[in-house]
């Protein structure tokens, strides 16, 4: 199912399809591993709900919802945190 990264719930896994941001923003996010084809797991929300922490390649990266809602991804169903590893 195609979702925005900001729609993911903790534990959800998705594969990024499109980073719909300006070139400069895409360049920055790319350095942290956010580009199409990358697998992302939503790992937790900050106590106040925003930003949200994502897990990529073993790193934990937090993005604000205002950024995450511009990243589109395909949610991978039926996979849980335990099965990942």
């Amino acid at each position: 199912m195609r979702v925005r990264l900001s729609d993911l719930q903790p534990g959800d896994i998705a594969v990024i399809e499109d980073v719909a941001l300006s070139e400069a923003e895409r360049q920055l996010l790319m350095r942290f591993g956010f580009f199409d084809g990358a697998e992302v797991r939503c790992s937790r929300r900050a106590p106040l709900g925003d930003p949200v922490v994502y897990s990529l390649d073993g790193s934990e990266i937090a993005l604000r919802t205002e950024t995450a809602c511009r990243i589109f991804a395909w949610r991978v169903d039926g996979q849980t945190h335990e099965q990942m590893r």
Partner: protein, 624 residues
């Protein structure tokens, strides 16, 4: 062959040169700074690269038969000149940076526990064609968490030597010495198009799997701790406890330590006074130079205490979590979560707070934080606040038993400073410092035990930077103000304060400050307190102490005679806003590496103070 791949240029001519300068490069959180400290010990220099805010760290590493200069580059994920840090790294590596010799070799530091990702920096670095040694740092953690890597295979694939090290434990570092004595250019190998970050990452993942890289088990402890630290309820509670402890310590420990040091230095000056016969020379040495040195040194306890905390928080990994928790709140004023601790520290003193803003990677957010920090009610404002409140505001209960009028006045002054900071942040972030192209991205590193060594070295580093680079400006301003208060000479003796140059200046600016309800004596206080805000109390004490009419009265009573209620309130508001602090200006200059920002800050804050004082005086005079 894949058209995306290119071959490393072979530069055999450089291969057998003696290595004099070596660049240390690695991604953020790769343990690069710890390694730099290990290799250079205390033989380090800190400066700024010309014209930009990036700090330049160089150090000397001793080899058995020679010395090698190590240039510590800023932490970068790639060598695409996109961010300022990356531009600096590229310029230094290509030998295009003024004042920094081009490196003869490169030490590439990568976090071994996160190799799949960090390895992508290897492609652009190897492509430079310089002799390169890859140091897989945190090898101890990799092994401990059941990960592994075949370093020989990796070296074959990369065409450069590879060593597994631990900068924290100091293991495996002899490889650096061996490499520097016999460094060879990389063997030809295939690399991705190095400008393409995505291709580099794919290449990195392939190389990692070809070298039998087994990533370590997920950091179970970090996840478990984060369940508490980032918990909906416990997280914010812990956050409040931690920042409360930081604030309490900087204010409650740093401040008394600074005062004790100040008293000690003053005492030493008094003891030395009889030893110098000539009055003018004594005044120059003790009141000018010694007091100037003292005004620099008094900041050290607070800087060190704050950086001890920041060191512990940052090295343990909590600082990133604190930023995550504070971000939501800070984003309301257009700043990010990392600005929280520096701004909180500014309530004790803006000087260490501005130095602490270095933990904010986003340059614009960092600059905004630096520019608003001096609005926070620092402890140097308290003496003049207490004096004027005690003299002009009668104590009476306001909110039942809860708060008296004086406490309320003090609270209002805090709120005033805070409001000015927030308002200024909003203005800055929606205009000149608008930062749309840089979204907030925060990496949460694993929790680690901070080491005594790294935290200690950071304290030394910050202390030295402050004393050497801000201290000189502070000393200069202190001497200048001393000169103005002790000239012109009167029969070889310094004049009385009311006959000095600064008093003439006070009379000179009187027409400008009269609309605020200030007389020339207050004007002199405003001028001398450019050194530090609390100086105004001493100056006013001297001026009123000399005046035969007010000589016998206490300073409070003298002020009550000389200043109207509206003038006193205007003075309070003036001090809430004005940039009456040469030390802050010196630190802002050092941290922004330009005189432009401190100048803007000075005129903006003082202009705001003038207008606000004018307004307050006008309103209150009209009401009476």
């Amino acid at each position: 062959m894949n058209p995306l791949l290119q071959t490393v240029p072979s530069s055999a001519a450089r291969s057998q040169q003696r290595i004099l300068t070596v660049a240390l490069i690695g991604p953020p959180n790769s343990g690069k700074t710890t390694l730099f400290n290990r290799l250079t010990k205390l033989r380090q220099k800190v400066g700024n690269y010309p014209g930009i805010t990036v700090e330049q760290h160089t150090g000397v590493m001793a080899l058995p038969d020679q010395e090698v200069t190590i240039v510590d580059l800023p932490g970068v994920y790639s060598l695409n000149p996109y961010s300022e840090d990356e531009r600096v790294a590229v310029s230094v590596l290509n030998g295009n940076m003024d004042g920094v010799p081009g490196p003869d070799a490169v030490l590439l530091v990568l976090d071994a526990t996160n190799l799949t990702r960090q390895l992508s920096l290897a492609a652009p670095v190897i492509a430079l064609g310089l002799p390169t040694l890859a140091l897989l740092n945190m090898g101890d953690l990799l092994a401990k968490r059941s990960g592994s890597i075949d370093a020989v295979k990796l070296a074959g694939d990369l065409g450069i030597p590879v060593a597994i090290v631990s900068a924290t434990m100091g293991t495996g570092l002899d490889a650096v010495g061996r490499f520097l004595q016999q460094a060879n250019s990389p063997s030809p190998t295939t690399l991705p198009i190095v400008q393409d970050v995505r291709e580099c990452r794919k290449w990195a993942a392939r190389i990692a799997s070809e070298s039998d890289y087994r990533p370590p088990l997920p950091p179970a402890w970090t996840r478990r701790l984060d369940d508490i630290v980032l918990h909906k309820f416990w997280g914010p509670l812990l956050f409040i406890i931690v920042v409360g402890a930081v604030f309490q310590t900087v204010f409650g420990l740093g401040q008394p330590l600074s005062n004790a040091l100040q008293n000690l230095l003053a005492r030493m000056g008094q003891e030395a006074a009889p030893l110098i016969a000539n009055g003018f020379l004594r005044s120059l040495l003790l009141d000018g130079i010694w007091k100037g040195v003292g005004s620099v040194l008094v900041f050290l306890p607070q800087i060190l205490v704050l950086f001890l905390f920041i060191g512990l928080l940052e090295d343990s990994g909590y600082l990133a979590r604190a930023a995550l928790i504070a971000d939501r709140t800070m984003s309301m004023v257009g700043l990010n979560g990392k600005a929280f601790i520096p701004l909180l520290s500014a309530y004790a003193c803006a000087v260490p707070a501005i130095m602490a803003s270095r933990t904010i990677e986003n340059k614009r957010d960092r600059l905004a934080t630096i520019l608003i920090a001096p609005f926070m009610t620092c402890s140097a404002r308290l003496p003049i606040y207490t004096l004027l409140i005690a003299a002009f505001i009668p104590e009476r209960p306001v909110v039942g038993f809860l708060m008296g009028s004086r406490a309320l006045a003090m609270l209002l002054l805090y709120v005033l400073g805070f409001a000015a900071a927030i308002g200024t942040a909003k203005i800055l972030k929606s205009s000149v410092l608008k930062s749309t192209p840089a979204p907030f991205v925060l990496e949460l590193p694993e929790y680690r035990w901070p080491t005594f060594r790294t935290v200690g070295l950071r304290l030394m580093d910050r202390g030295r930077v402050f004393v050497q680079q801000a201290g000189t400006v502070i000393l200069f301003v202190s001497l200048l103000v001393w000169g103005l208060t002790n000239l012109p000479l009167h029969q070889g003796h310094p004049p009385e304060l009311e006959n000095s140059v600064v008093a003439q200046l006070g009379h000179f600016i009187e027409p400008a400050i009269r609309p605020l309800g200030f007389n020339w004596k207050i004007g002199v206080g405003l001028l001398t307190s450019v050194v530090a805000r609390e100086v105004i109390v001493g100056t006013l004490g001297t001026l009123y102490g000399r005046d035969p009419q007010t000589q016998s009265a206490s300073l409070q009573v003298a002020l009550q005679h000389d200043l109207t209620f509206s003038g006193a309130m205007a003075l309070l508001v003036f001090f809430a806003f004005a940039m009456q602090c040469a030390s802050t200006l010196a630190v802002v200059r050092r941290e922004t590496n330009s005189w432009m920002w401190p100048a803007i800050q000075f005129f903006y804050m003082t202009g705001l103070a003038f207008l606000a004082a004018l307004f307050v005086h006008g309103i209150l005079s009209a009401m009476n």
